[in-house]
């Protein structure tokens, strides 16, 4: 390349930048880079924070759960791979004190525990806990509030765990990895791991589990898992991370992640659209210089180099400014919300920067490709015949280049073919639909543009005349509005569904062991204290004895005896049995029929029916029609499985593995469980509330609920900010489009002006034109929005799909208002110039 070519390209670039000729395309690149960088940097920082926060729920980044101690070499390897480790042994065990006993969830932790999150303790049962950095000292045990009730102990008293004796020194208010199943957990007792041996509860046949906690950099964790994976035995080991879909938090974080991804993808598409618009305009403005250069003898290769260099200069400048701007925007947002949302402010992520640079480059290059090819094909003859445009007529290259670029970016960025394909295909559907609408409009324009030239006629006539330009513009408006709608509606639906999971007033205390006689008294007492008691569920304790007459411990199926046995043995044979014709909230029958739908009379001779929880049914191979046998007190009850239920274990509602038909259990004397909601600030009232009912055990899940709510609030808040960022990006795209199209209208305005048309007529006609375009774009956007949302919600977010009628009105109205206002503003700018200036600009 000669120096002349470079210096000519540089000079053109410099002058054009100075004269504002490149403003639109530069703005588009800046916008794409800034929005992608700010969104992805913000979302990555937020994700990191959320993931850290969520990691608290498993007390680590990763947990290896095992049925027996693992090879110490594994832990050594983890340390060598720069991971922090901690260890905890857990067991269900009986605890004795004051001649009373209770089954507890015993946890023996070493000094590293917890790697994430905090342990909270207090000196008074049921009082708010305070964070502690220590663990029980040798010979000490920290126990949960309800154990103080059931064992009638106080701080300083002794309890027996297995063969060892411990002094209770603290109330254990909270451990991070408590789990969310209210009834899956017995009250916890925390002891030092060093003291575990003395209890002698480990040993053959004991139900002891081993948790190994790991924290560290994600890459190191992944490397470690890659190393560890071949050595894991699926029957014994379970590798957990908070991102795993099987937790509520995992799902929320997962969805939030998908949402950030979606928002960023849409930002990319928005930016790409604006670059395409700007590049088209850029190319048209350079037809003359290219024709002049060619006339003066410039070979095609030279022209190509000059303009490719220009695009490179523009891209480089755009990326630089965009990166700085994007960083500043997200830093401002992060600073603004720092006190509301935890974001790891100090973490710098290279990936968003690389993505932003990649996006800017790919957008600028691929979206300029077709306009540039057109530009290169301009004939030198244009210097004599000004009407000559470019010789390139095939739009195939344009469609392939722009479509390919968008898809490539989506795929590269999301690494999720499904999300990319859904968004891309709905985009294509929208474009095709819009082409039909546009041609409908052209037809309509022909009809309505006839007659006396008022502002409306002028608007319709212009739409008709500029059919192709308008179709491009209409499509880009509609795509922009649609993308904004998708982001807005997804956010609303998602936040709504999160909040629905934990509505205000979700019970945060559960009471068990309520006798039938206590029910009214308890309800009354609570009401007097302004607390409403929820539904009472009858409970009998039963022992799960046999499946199809085979004892649970010996039940063996032919296919996989080891697995079956393992699973069945792992099941606690003591079970809470309830009876009800009513299906619990959040439960869903997935196989068979709910017996409550057709209750049988008491005297019906058919076998008693039982409904089994899906996970348990899978684990111990219970099938429809199996006979399950329970020992309840001294009686044996045979039941037949007539339905399998999907239970929402994290709904903070009482849930049961087995629900039995009322006619089977109504002769047993049950105890009841119930729940109530008490605001955290009234925590101190618990003791007074429970005082008259000494036998009732209280389970405090307030901390759990607050943990959950906290994370949902954070994610919701983050989503709001992402929404604002995308809205800003979308608005800027609209402005860029209107500005670009205003340029094209300049000539017409100049002529109308010269011919003496009044400013008001011109202004009104331009505004009407934009209003019409805005309305049509809005309608199309609403339609495409529904289609996209349906696919996103059902295929990606695993949410319930819903229709959004309100947006059918909102989108066209908002489209008309926003696009109309932008059109009016653009028009005012042009009309403020005098006619000779306008005409001169046209030369």
């Amino acid at each position: 390349m000669t120096n002349h070519t470079f210096s000519l390209a540089w000079r053109l670039f410099r002058h054009e930048t100075k004269r504002g000729e490149l403003t639109i395309i530069l703005l588009a690149i800046i916008l794409s880079v800034a929005s992608v960088l700010s969104l992805s940097l913000f979302s990555e920082r937020l994700q990191q924070a959320l993931s850290d926060k969520s990691a608290e729920f498993i007390a680590a980044d990763r947990v290896l759960d095992a049925d027996k101690p693992v090879d110490l070499g594994w832990i050594e390897q983890a340390k060598q791979m720069k991971l922090n480790t901690a260890h905890q042994v857990y067991a269900r065990s009986m605890v004795f004190a004051n001649e009373q006993m209770d089954l507890v969830d015993l946890r023996a932790a070493d000094s590293g525990y917890p790697l994430k999150g905090k342990v909270k303790i207090s000196q008074q049962p049921f009082s708010p806990g305070e964070i502690t950095e220590t663990l029980p000292a040798t010979g000490e045990a920290w126990i949960e509030s309800q154990l103080f009730q059931t064992l009638s102990v106080s701080i300083g008293d002794k309890i027996e765990v297995g063969d060892a004796e411990f002094t209770v020194t603290q109330v254990l208010s909270e451990v991070p990895d408590a789990g969310f199943n209210v009834f899956g957990g017995d009250p916890k007792v925390l002891i030092p791991k060093a003291d575990l041996a003395a209890t002698n509860i480990e040993g053959p046949g004991s139900r002891v589990g081993y948790s190994y906690f790991f924290t560290g950099e994600k890459d190191d964790l992944d490397d470690y898992y890659t190393w560890l994976k071949p050595q894991l035995d699926r029957e014994i080991h379970d590798w957990d991370s908070v991102e795993d879909e099987n937790t509520r938090i995992g799902r929320s974080v997962g969805r939030a992640g998908q949402y950030f991804l979606l928002a960023s993808l849409l930002a990319i598409v928005l930016a790409a659209v604006s670059i395409a618009v700007a590049a088209q305009r850029y190319s048209q403005r350079h037809y003359d210089p290219v024709a002049i250069m060619k006339t003066l003898g410039a070979p095609k290769a030279m022209v190509q180099k000059i303009y490719l260099l220009q695009i490179l200069f523009i891209t480089a400048l755009g990326i630089t400014i965009g990166a700085v701007l994007g960083f500043v925007i997200q830093q401002l947002v992060v600073t603004a919300i720092a006190d509301k949302v935890d974001v790891s402010i100090d973490v710098w992520h290279w990936r968003p920067l690389l993505i932003a640079i990649f996006t800017g480059t790919v957008c600028a290059v691929l979206f300029s490709l077709y306009p540039l090819l057109k530009l290169f094909s301009v004939s030198p003859l244009r210097v004599l015949r000004r009407d000559l445009g470019a010789n390139l007529s095939s739009r195939l290259i344009q469609f392939l280049a722009s479509g390919g670029a968008i898809f490539l970016l989506m795929w590269a960025y999301s690494q999720n073919l499904k999300v990319s394909a859904i968004l891309f295909s709905s985009g294509i559907a929208l474009v095709v639909g819009l082409l039909f609408v546009t041609y409908g409009l052209i037809w309509l324009g022909r009809k309505m543009g006839q007659g006396r030239m008022g502002a409306w006629q002028l608007a319709w006539a212009r739409i008709h005349r500029r059919a192709m330009d308008n179709s491009v513009q209409l499509i880009s408006f509609a795509v922009t509005i649609m993308l904004l709608l998708v982001v807005l509606v997804m956010r609303n639906d998602m936040v709504q569904q999160w909040q629905d999971q934990l509505p205000e007033g979700t019970p945060n205390y559960f009471m068990v062991n309520i006798s039938q006689a206590q029910q009214p008294e308890l309800e009354q007492h609570f009401l007097q204290n302004g607390v409403e008691v929820k539904k009472f569920y009858p409970i009998v304790r039963g022992r799960f004895a046999a499946i199809n007459d085979e004892k649970v411990r010996t039940a063996v199926s032919k296919e996989d005896p080891e697995k079956q046995n393992q699973g069945r043995n792992g099941l606690g044979r003591e079970a809470n049995l309830t009876w009800s014709n009513e299906l619990q909230n959040g439960s869903k029958v997935i196989d068979g029929k709910w017996f409550g739908d057709n209750p049988l009379p008491e005297e019906d001779p058919s076998p008693f029916q039982v409904s089994v929880e899906q996970g348990l049914a899978e684990r111990i191979d219970i099938k429809m029609g199996d006979t399950l046998t329970f020992n309840i007190g001294s009686e044996i009850v045979h039941t037949q499985v007539t339905s399998i239920r999907d239970v929402h274990w994290q709904s903070m509602q009482p849930n049961f593995f087995f629900v039995i038909e009322p006619r089977a259990l109504q002769n047993f004397t049950p105890t009841y469980i119930s729940s109530f909601n008490l605001p955290t600030q009234r925590k101190a009232d618990v003791t007074q509330l429970m005082q008259p009912f000494a036998n009732v055990t209280l389970i405090d899940v307030d901390a759990r609920i607050n943990q959950l709510r906290n994370i949902v609030d954070q994610v919701s808040m983050a989503v709001e900010f992402i929404l604002i960022l995308v809205l800003a990006a979308g608005s800027l795209v609209l402005i860029a489009q209107v500005q670009a199209s205003m340029d094209e209208r300049q000539q017409e305005l100049a002529i109308l002006r010269t011919l003496g048309a009044k400013g008001n007529l011109i202004r009104a006609s331009v505004v009407f034109e934009f209003v019409i375009i805005g309305v049509v774009a809005g309608i199309m956007a609403a339609l495409a929005n529904e289609l996209t949302l349906y696919m996103l919600q059902t295929q990606i977010f695993q949410m319930q799909a819903s229709l959004h009628w309100q947006y059918w009105a909102v989108a066209p109205i908002a489209g008309a208002i926003v696009v109309g206002i932008l059109g009016a503003l653009g028009c005012w700018r042009l009309l403020s110039l005098n006619t000779s200036h306008l005409l001169r600009q046209m030369v």
């Binding site: 000669t2 003359d288 210097v383």
Partner: protein, 244 residues
């Protein structure tokens, strides 16, 4: 393909060149077969009414467009057998242009517009040449102005300077005074002919302006795509002398 060469003193030589364009109504012959020569250093005006085909003829002579039929030689090189790239090279080496609408690159300053052909040709002294010629057209004080900051007359002077910077053998001018008032027209005409004579350039210009045409040695008259030659006074004189 190697350009065809002939050897004579004609700067332009055309043999039966015609132009046919495709329209929605089928083919349209906008130029009937034309043959004529222009000698080196000669000044020729192509005159005729709007739509007579004079600009089409100019575009063919300058190699901006392809002939449909016939042969056309510019400085003994057969342009009819060249592709666009070869024609561009030839234009860069031997041709200068002046247009009615000036055709300056709006985003380059006056001096940069003048430098453009020299830079395209790869001359390392482009700037010095531009400054010299800018001085000749009397616009040195406007060197760093953009086209839209110059008057029409000034813009055309810049265009003339641009046309002469690479010392072309032939200069094509399309209505060079068409956008100018009488005073400026006169100045531009004067400048154009002065530079033309000083550098012994062949001049082919298209014009409506009979006064301007009369200043040329020969006039070619176009009417509905057909060329008729009008002999100028000097030629009549020359013919009379020869006859005598």
């Amino acid at each position: 393909m190697t350009p065809e060469l002939i050897n004579n003193t004609n700067m332009i030589s055309t043999k039966g060149i015609s132009k046919i364009v495709n329209t929605t109504q089928g083919e349209l012959q906008i130029l009937q077969p034309i043959s004529f020569d222009v000698k080196a250093g000669e000044s020729v005006a192509i005159v005729g009414a709007s739509g007579s085909g004079k600009s089409t003829l100019l575009s063919l002579l300058a190699g901006l467009d392809e002939v449909s039929d016939g042969e056309i030689y510019l400085d003994n090189q057969g342009m009819h057998s060249m592709d666009e790239e070869q024609r561009a090279q030839l234009r860069g080496a031997k041709v200068g242009f002046i247009f009615q609408s000036f055709m300056l690159v709006q985003s380059l300053t006056a001096i940069e517009n003048i430098m453009l052909p020299a830079e395209i040709a790869g001359h390392s002294d482009a700037k010095q040449r531009a400054l010299d010629i800018l001085h000749k057209v009397g616009l040195e004080h406007r060197a760093d102005h953009y086209p839209n900051q110059l008057s029409g007359g000034e813009q055309q002077r810049v265009a003339i300077a641009r046309a002469f910077i690479s010392e072309p053998k032939i200069l094509f001018a399309d209505e060079p005074t068409g956008n100018l008032d009488a005073v400026n027209s006169e100045k531009i005409e004067k400048l154009l002919f002065e530079l033309n004579q000083n550098s012994n350039t062949t001049l082919v210009l298209v014009t409506h302006d009979q006064e301007l045409a009369d200043k040329c040695e020969r006039q070619l008259h176009m009417q509905a795509g057909v060329l008729t030659e009008i002999t100028t006074e000097s030629e009549q004189l020359e013919q009379a002398v020869n006859a005598g």
